[in-house]
Structure formats: structure tokens, C-alpha cells
């Protein structure tokens, strides 16, 4: 169906079900219970899950398939945000043109950046993209916000002001991004007993877009074009000797991933009409690298998992403070309780980045395939254990590929 084989279709359907019913899945605890802080089903966070999912899926098309590690993808996200906010400022609050323009502008920028950066590979490519992105960040932060030509509004961030023209913004509409009248911040809350589930228009827009681009990513992975990109990753020299020029393929992959980043940026602006330069800084690019690696580079579902994982734990860990910790470990004897809290304290709350860094290092060292590989290994281990119990352990032969 839809040109996918059975396995991919199952994956797509699974992702579709998960995203569509996310408000239920992410709110498993009743609102008043002590565990409610682990709920992630509020609109703002769910939007971030899918938006960063889109960003990471796009990044994975470049890094996962071709192996080119870009440290500058956040620049496209920032550019997309700026483009979308400019549409809001000048024309209309409808998100469709804003998102379209965000994608187009990001794609144009990525053509320029990719054309230059892809002349080099390996670490040089990383440094070139890093240099470009930092350059764009520096420009957006300072020069492009001078009074004569204020494109980015510098440190404050670009936002919509009451005296902006907004030519096609009808009277009587609210001042918030909408999809033909459906406001992005409108939320329907369903109360079932002690539970409360939020259904947010913005989230569902992002989720539908993410499903679409996820489908596109599956098609790219399975297409001859995708095979070509993998060939570039495994042995570019051989490809050259075969008489194929890899550059158009890598450039295409770069532009596609840039457009994905722009889409994510556009959606981000649509959820909250504000764009700041800090979205373009290289640490932001580092974050999407983390998501992709943590989830599983070169796998389909990995980046989405990684994005969800990082954003969820960022949110949860940041909320845990000493009081919560004391509550958790109250069953321990007093001295031990204080000691445990003392040990955990640096890793939670403001220390979330410390946990993230350690986690990331552990993943790169021990589990280069990320969470997906971890899952596969556990799966295999369980399977093998079951086998060795009921079948006699003889030398097993692996079938050749």
C-alpha cells in the first residue's frame, strides 16, 4: 500500500497511531496524582516532540544515509522561522503560506551552503557547515537588526507588532496563527474521571505534517536515490571509479534535509509567532545531532525516538528538584536519603545538560546504533535465550547474505 512494503507500512501505521493518540499515551497519570509530573501530554511539549522529530528525520536523511556530519543545520531551522514570522508580519496569520515560504527559503539557503560545503568531506565538511551556520547566526544576531534594515530584530527576536501591515489579515480574527480559521492554540480538553486529555489544533497540524514527511523519508530510504546515498556513505572512492559523480546526490540530500529543517522552523513559528537568533547557534545544531545519534543513525524511526526522548527528559528532568527527590527517597533512612539526594542533585533540575552529555557519551561509546540498536540487541538476547533453553546448543551457522 502507498508503495511501501509490509514492514514499512506497519511502521508508518504504528507511528500514525502513536502520534494521533499521543494525548492519551502521554497522559497516563491522573491530573491530581503525584505522578502527574511525568505526564507529557500538554500541547506545548507535544508540539515540540513532533517538530523536533521532523527536524531529526531530515537531518538523518543527510547524516544517516550519506554520513556527512553537518554541524550547521540549526541555521536552516532559524531561517525558516524568520521567513514564517515575516509572512505573519506582512501578509496574513494563515500558516500555509508561512510554512511554504519557510521551506522554500530554507531550501534556497541549503542549496547555497551545500554547494560550497559539499566540495569537502569528512571533518572539513563539518567545520565548513559550522562556519557557515555561525556566520549566519552572527549576522542574524547583530547586523541584520540595525534600525535601517531590521530583518531579524536581533536579541529580542522577531515578532508581530500591532502596527505591522498584515495586508490579508481580516478584521475580527484573533491575532494568532491559524489554519483557515482554526487557531493553533485552541485546545479541547476532555475530562475522563480524574484524567484530562488535551487535544490541540497546533499539535495535530504538526503531527499530520510529520506523518507526511515521515512517509516521504521512508520512500527516500527505499528508493534508488536512497541506495545511492548509502553507497556514498560506504565507499565514495569506489563510486567515483565506477564513473558516478556523487555530488548531485549529496547536494540533493543536503537540500532535502535543509528543507525539513526549514519546515520544522516554520512550524515552530506557527505554534508561537516568534523567531530568535539563538535557534541558529551551533549548540542547537549539536542538539539535533544528539537526537539522531541517540535514537539511531540511519534508521527510520530512530530520529523520531531520539527527539521525543530528549525533549521528554529535558522537560521532566528540569522539573525535578530537591523537594521531589526527598519525597521519592523518603523510605530510606535519613542519612542515606540525604546522601542519595546529594548524589542525584547535580543531574536533575538545572543539571539536565550534564545528564544529557553523559548519556550521549555512553551511547556513542557503547551503542553507536542508538536506542534502536539497543532495542534490537535486547530483542535478540531474549530470542537467543529462549532458543538455547529448548534446543541443544550446537554450533550455529549464520546464513550468508
Amino acid at each position: 500500500m502507498l508503495g511501501l512494503n509490509k514492514k514499512d507500512m506497519t511502521l508508518l501505521i504504528a507511528v500514525a497511531v502513536l502520534t494521533m493518540f499521543a494525548p492519551f499515551f502521554l497522559n497516563p497519570f491522573p491530573t491530581d496524582s503525584a505522578m502527574a509530573q511525568f505526564n507529557a501530554g500538554y500541547p506545548d511539549l507535544m508540539q515540540r516532540f513532533v517538530i523536533f522529530g521532523i527536524f531529526a528525520i531530515g537531518f538523518n536523511i543527510l547524516f544517516g544515509l550519506t554520513g556527512y556530519l553537518s554541524f550547521g543545520h540549526a541555521a536552516f531551522l532559524g531561517v525558516g522561522s524568520y521567513a514564517a514570522v515575516w509572512i505573519f508580519k506582512l501578509f496574513t496569520y494563515n500558516v500555509v503560506p508561512a510554512i511554504l515560504l519557510a521551506v522554500i527559503v530554507a531550501a534556497v539557503f541549503s542549496v547555497l551552503m551545500g554547494y560550497v560545503s559539499l566540495r569537502r568531506s569528512g571533518i572539513y565538511f563539518s567545520i565548513l557547515t559550522l562556519a557557515f551556520a555561525q556566520m549566519m547566526f552572527a549576522l542574524a544576531y547583530s547586523v541584520l537588526s540595525n534600525p535601517k534594515f531590521n530583518l531579524t530584530n536581533g536579541e529580542t527576536g522577531l515578532q508581530v507588532y500591532p502596527n505591522d501591515p498584515q495586508m490579508f489579515h481580516p478584521e475580527g480574527m484573533q491575532d494568532f496563527p491559524h489554519l483557515f480559521g482554526l487557531y493553533m492554540n485552541s485546545t479541547y480538553t476532555m475530562n475522563v474521571g480524574p484524567w484530562a486529555f488535551d487535544f490541540n489544533t497546533g499539535y495535530y497540524l504538526c503531527a499530520v505534517v510529520m506523518l507526511a514527511v515521515f512517509y516521504l523519508a521512508i520512500r527516500i530510504f527505499r528508493s534508488p536515490f536512497g541506495m545511492m546515498l548509502r553507497a556514498i556513505k560506504s565507499n565514495q572512492t569506489r563510486l567515483n571509479y565506477t564513473g558516478l559523480n556523487p555530488r548531485p546526490y549529496t547536494l540533493a540530500a543536503f537540500v532535502i534535509s535543509g528543507a525539513y529543517a526549514g519546515l520544522a522552523g516554520g512550524l515552530m513559528a506557527a505554534m508561537d509567532p516568534l523567531a530568535g537568533a539563538e535557534r541558529m547557534q551551533w549548540t542547537a545544531s549539536g542538539e539535533v545531532v544528539l537526537m539522531t545519534i541517540l535514537g539511531g543513525t540511519g534508521t527510520l524511526i530512530g530520529p523520531v525516538l531520539g527527539a521525543g526522548f530528549i525533549k521528554y527528559f529535558e522537560n521532566i528532568f528540569s522539573k525535578i528538584n530537591d523537594a521531589v527527590l526527598h519525597q521519592w527517597f523518603a523510605f530510606l533512612p535519613d542519612g542515606l536519603e540525604d546522601f542519595v539526594v546529594f548524589i542525584i542533585h547535580p543531574f536533575v533540575g538545572k543539571g539536565w545538560h550534564l545528564t544529557l552529555g553523559i548519556l550521549f557519551m555512553l551511547v556513542v561509546i557503547f551503542l553507536p546504533g542508538g536506542l534502536v540498536e539497543g532495542g534490537q540487541r535486547i530483542g535478540k538476547w531474549i530470542k537467543n535465550r529462549g532458543k538455547s533453553e529448548d534446543s541443544d546448543a550446537g554450533p550455529k551457522t549464520e546464513p550468508a547474505e
Binding site: G67, L69, V116, R119, R120, S121, G122, I123, Y124, S126, I127, L128, L130, A131, F132, Q134, M135, A138, L139, Y141, S142, V143, L144, N146, W282, T283, G286, V289, I293, P346, G351, H353, L354, L356, G357, I358, F360, M361, V364, I365, P368
Partner: protein, 340 residues
């Protein structure tokens, strides 16, 4: 003429920091073949060595003064640093005053230890893996180091003044009949950087150890076949590179109050410097460091920023892009080394 000289001087101190960090990066890349994204964090740790020593020396105890009273009429509590009571007030005060230069003595062993632990504990396992993996794991390490420092020292910059004797402004121009006033500490920084750079080069050039290391950089396997434990020497070089970055950080503390993300800020630029100078070329890194520092300061003049707005922000990256595209091995890189 004065203005040009002043810009060159302005460029020199930033350039020396770039040169020192880039020198360490290149040393690590040239010996171990590892791209170390945590090098900026080492610079930052160096700067915090200065902060730590300053705090440590200023540790004091309270005594109640018998003669003086505060404005409420209560006996005045006087804080006396321990060093002042041990060595007498004058020597004690000057020890505290000179804490930043003294931190060099503290930083060298600490940074070498940090370098050794880093190399033996982590980077050793990454020689055989791809550059991308090396970048990623050291990037993770940089985040961790940075967060640890943030946890203990907070997120705000910490003022670490230079000694009084070196914190004024020197009128350099007096010797040449020009109007040229310049902060003393920046001149000290430049001289210090030059000294460290000469030290490293002399060490590599004139000692047997350095000779072996250079031989190992040229052909690691053959040196290994000759029965020399090249890995151990490279580990020591890693420690030295860490110490160089740390020293750069210690002395930079009075110029720019240390904060936990200063390493990251310098790292990106230092990479650019290494690339411009040529991956694996030590003189190239130093030359490119000073050159880009001076170029940056010229681009920051009013004349330059009014002609091309924002040029001061992007000049280094622009130069890097141009160099990478036209001469990928860098200004002084060897032919055929990492030219892809």
C-alpha cells in the same frame, strides 16, 4: 600609523589565545589523529584554575577587632585571609594579588592530569573509529565538563583581576614617539603566549623525546617497529597539549572573566584557525592564529564596519571558507594530508 599599530596590538592578544588553542588541537591531531572537540573545555578549565586558586588563597577567618567599631557601635569583625596571617600582611596580600600568574603553577599539573585521564580513559578507544565518532564523543565530553564547571562555579562570569602591578595601561608609544597606550596585561599575555609557543617548538625540536614524537607524526608504524613505545609518547603529547590550552586559559582569565561556556566560544574559532593553518601543521596553526586575530581586529575598526556592516563578526569564517575551497590543505599544511 598609530591606529594600524593599535589594531595589530589588539589582534595580538586574541590571536595568541587562538594560536595556543590551535597549537594544542594540531598537536593532538598530528600525533593521535583525533579531532578533539573538548579542547575548548580544556581552555575553560584552565581559566577556572585561576579562579579556584584565587578563591583558595582568599580563604579567610573572622576575628573580632578590639579597637575598631562598625557604624552601629558593635565590635568590628575583620576577615583575615589565612595567607596573610601565615606570611605577614604584606607578603600575604601580594600573594593574593598575584594569584592569577601563580595559577600557572597549579594549572600545569592539573591540566596534564586531566589530559592523561582524558586520553587513557576515553580517547584511546576512539583511534580506530571514524572522525565523526571522535567529534561526537568529544563534543559530549565538552558538554559534560562544561556542565560540571557550571555546577560548581555558577553560570555568571567570575572577575579574576590581574596583579595590580600589571593591570594598568602602558604607554608603549613613548619609545617610538607615538601616541599608543595599551593595557599591560595584554602585552604580558602576548609575551607569555610567545614563550609557551617557543617552549613547545623547542621541546619538539631539540630534545630526543621531541624528535621521536616528530618521527612518530611522520610515520607512526615505522617508529613502532623500531621498538619505541610511541603510544606512550603520544599520550604525553596529549597531556602537553592539554596543558598548553590550560595555560592559555589561566592567563586569559583577567582579559575575559571566565564563564562556563567560554571554551565553546573559542573552540569553533580555534577549529577554523587550525583549518586555515593546515591540519597537522604546528607553525601553520600559530601563524593562522595570529593572522586571524589581527584580521579580526582590523575588521572591527569603524572604517571596516561602516564599509561592510557586520564584517567583524564574519571575517574569520569567510577567510576559512575561502581557504578551504581554494587551498584545502591550509596555508602551511603538508601536501596530501587530509586534502579531501
Amino acid at each position: 600609523m598609530d591606529a594600524i599599530l593599535l589594531q595589530i596590538l589588539n589582534g595580538l592578544d586574541k590571536g595568541s589565545a587562538y594560536a595556543l588553542i590551535a597549537l594544542g588541537l594540531t598537536l593532538i591531531f598530528g600525533t593521535l589523529g583525533v579531532v578533539n572537540f573538548a579542547h575548548g573545555a580544556l581552555f575553560m578549565i584552565g581559566a577556572f584554575c585561576a579562579v579556584t586558586l584565587q578563591r583558595f588563597l582568599s580563604l579567610s577567618y573572622q576575628t573580632v577587632s578590639e579597637t575598631e567599631k562598625d557604624f552601629l557601635g558593635n565590635p568590628l569583625k575583620v576577615e583575615t585571609p589565612y595567607v596573610e596571617s601565615w606570611f605577614g600582611p604584606e607578603i600575604g596580600a601580594s600573594i593574593i594579588d598575584w594569584s592569577t600568574p601563580l595559577a600557572i603553577l597549579l594549572a600545569i599539573p592539573i591540566m596534564m592530569l586531566v589530559g592523561l585521564i582524558m586520553e587513557r580513559g576515553l580517547i584511546k578507544h576512539f583511534y580506530k573509529r571514524e572522525h565523526a565518532d571522535q567529534i561526537l564523543v568529544t563534543f559530549g565530553l565538552a558538554i559534560v565538563l562544561q556542565e560540571i564547571v557550571k555546577y560548581y562555579f555558577g553560570a555568571n562570569p567570575i572577575q579574576t583581576p590581574a596583579p595590580d602591578a600589571l593591570s594598568g595601561v602602558a604607554n608603549l608609544g613613548a619609545w617610538f614617539g607615538l601616541e599608543l597606550a595599551y593595557p599591560v596585561w595584554r602585552i604580558v599575555y602576548f609575551c607569555f603566549a610567545a614563550l609557551v609557543i617557543f617552549g613547545v617548538f623547542a621541546f619538539l625540536q631539540f630534545t630526543t623525546f621531541g624528535m621521536v614524537v616528530r618521527a612518530g607524526m611522520a610515520d607512526r608504524e615505522t617508529v613502532g617497529l623500531l621498538g619505541i613505545n610511541i603510544d606512550r609518547r603520544f599520550t604525553i603529547m596529549f597531556a602537553i597539549a592539554a596543558a598548553v590550552a590550560g595555560l592559555a586559559g589561566v592567563m586569559y582569565a583577567p582579559i575575559n572573566p571566565p564563564n562556563y561556556h567560554m571554551g565553546m566560544d573559542f573552540l569553533v574559532l580555534s577549529f577554523v584557525v587550525v583549518v586555515v593553518g593546515g591540519m597537522g601543521s604546528l607553525p601553520g596553526a600559530v601563524l593562522a592564529g595570529f593572522m586571524l586575530g589581527i584580521l579580526e581586529s582590523f575588521a572591527s575598526t569603524t572604517w571596516a564596519t561602516t564599509t561592510i556592516p557586520g564584517i567583524n563578526q564574519i571575517i574569520i569564517y569567510l577567510v576559512a571558507i575561502i581557504v578551504l575551497l581554494t587551498r584545502p590543505r591550509g596555508l602551511m599544511g603538508r601536501k596530501g594530508v587530509m586534502e579531501e
